[in-house]
């Protein structure tokens, strides 16, 4: 069994219009090895954020479950930490206080001095949103489209920051994103989801690019271009095609699922 095992999870939501339920995704199964960086890519509505929430313990799967180090996940825990879009730092606290709160929660037995030390280590140079998550030293780090609302220029800098922090701490990372370039740059493997509703895990591709990867150099690699083309084709054509196939086979309703965040 893998370090983090997503074991045939299915998620239903109550139909917003009428009676019955809508299936977001069905029978999603994959594993993430310890220290691996896995990214999930797919259109909006395929449920990738929901999968992330299920791993985090903020939501429960309708069928199936998630197993971490052989133990089933039953709710939030300090071994899994989320980096939200926009980092969601609590604006009524200072940056330092935000990180402090996280560290205190992770290590309740630590003294004030120990906490301060840890906070200083993480806050000094690093991006604070990431700092707060990394400071808790979780087993699994979950990134929910963390750079979506950041402008393109800053994004590159923060991505490099992330890679540096991850390389040092080697948490297992599960990230969800729209940005194909980002996925290829950062991940070891990329999971591709079909469109929702009733989305499936279509395939997982390996990113055979050597580390360390710099944005400038990696773009010239032929493997990069191949991967990029493959994924974009998938997103544009194949994900829809697969969905249509499923509809034809009678496995879907005719109404598109409108995701509500």
């Amino acid at each position: 069994m893998a370090f983090l095992e997503i074991n045939h999870v299915t998620k239903f939501f109550p139909d917003p219009d009428g009676a019955g339920q809508v299936c977001v995704f069905r029978d999603v199964a994959f594993g993430v090895e310890r220290g691996e960086f896995l990214t999930m890519v797919g259109h909006s509505g395929c449920g990738k954020s929901t999968i992330l929430n299920i791993i985090a313990g903020l939501e429960a799967a309708s069928q199936g479950g998630v197993v971490l180090e052989g133990r089933e996940i039953r709710g939030p825990g300090m071994d899994r930490m989320v980096v939200f879009q926009n980092f969601s730092l609590m604006p009524w606290m200072t940056v330092t206080q935000n990180v402090r709160l996280a560290v205190r929660s992770a290590y309740p037995a630590w003294s004030g001095a120990q906490v301060d030390d840890c906070v200083r280590r993480y806050v000094v140079k690093q991006r604070v949103g990431l700092a707060r998550a990394f400071a808790t030293e979780p087993k699994v780090l979950l990134l929910d489209e963390p750079f979506a609302q950041i402008d393109a220029l800053t994004r590159g800098v923060i991505q490099e920051e992330l890679v540096r922090m991850w390389t040092a701490s080697r948490n297992t990372v599960f990230m969800v994103t729209h940005d194909v370039d980002e996925a290829i740059l950062l991940s070891d493997r990329i999971a591709l989801m079909t469109n929702g509703p009733d989305a499936r895990l279509a395939e997982i591709v390996e990113v055979k690019l050597p580390r360390p990867r710099s944005r400038a150099d990696v773009i010239d690699e032929p493997e990069y271009a191949r991967l990029r083309s493959h994924i974009i084709h998938f997103l544009v054509e194949r994900s829809r095609h697969l969905q249509e196939q499923a509809m034809a086979e009678g496995r879907l309703g005719s109404r598109p699922f409108v995701p509500t965040r």
Partner: protein
Amino acid sequence: MTPAREERLRTVVYSLVLLVSFLILWQGIAGAGGKGGKAAGIPGPLAVAETAWVMLSDPFYDRGPNDKGFGLQLGYSLMRMMGGYLCASVVAILVGVALGSSPALFKAANPFIQIMKPISPLAWMPLFLYTLKNAGQAAVLVIFVSSLWPTMANTAFGVGSIKKDYLNLSRLLQLSWPRRFLQVILPAAAPAIVAGLRISIGSAWVAIVAAEMLIGGTGVGYFVWNEWNNLALNSVIFAIFAIGMVGVLLDFGLGRVAKLVAYSD
């Protein structure tokens, strides 16, 4: 002069012009007026100013139940108001948090809140006087009732609008209930709560003056009514200004608090 400075100066000048015109108009329509006696009409600003001087130069004397300094009367009113207001604020915030955290509970409680809100606090007075048999306590309870609803509604709204990410974060960090309340929920909802408090203190101050007119004894409301019964309109007008000033100060104080708890998302 910078444009900003110019703008500010212009505003001040306009205000002064408004004030002076108002005073002139007032003096014009005022009659001989006075402390009561051959009064032909409303006392003018000069007469009121004279009374104000007398009132404020010795505000804290106490010469028996019929004659207490204006400062003392203000003190009584403020004390009663604060008693009712503070109790109401605590209750309203706690209940508001509960309602804001549970949409089901809020929907259930909302009809009752909507019914209670428009009831004039003074309509409760007879009921309280009958049950409490104590005019002072009845007044405080009237203030309590009138200060509840704005704070409660705003708190519920503020708590209900907290960004889901913050709440999720507190679940992820496995924050204990008190920690979660003090470090996440309260600060997040604080701007809405303080806005509610600000509205509530306004209605509390209005209510105490009115309540005192009914129950008598001490306080600015009683003072106004007593002076009116004695046709001492100078004192009545002076008291009106004083009541207004206190209202401004109370609101200003809470405005500062609002600035303290404000944050940009």
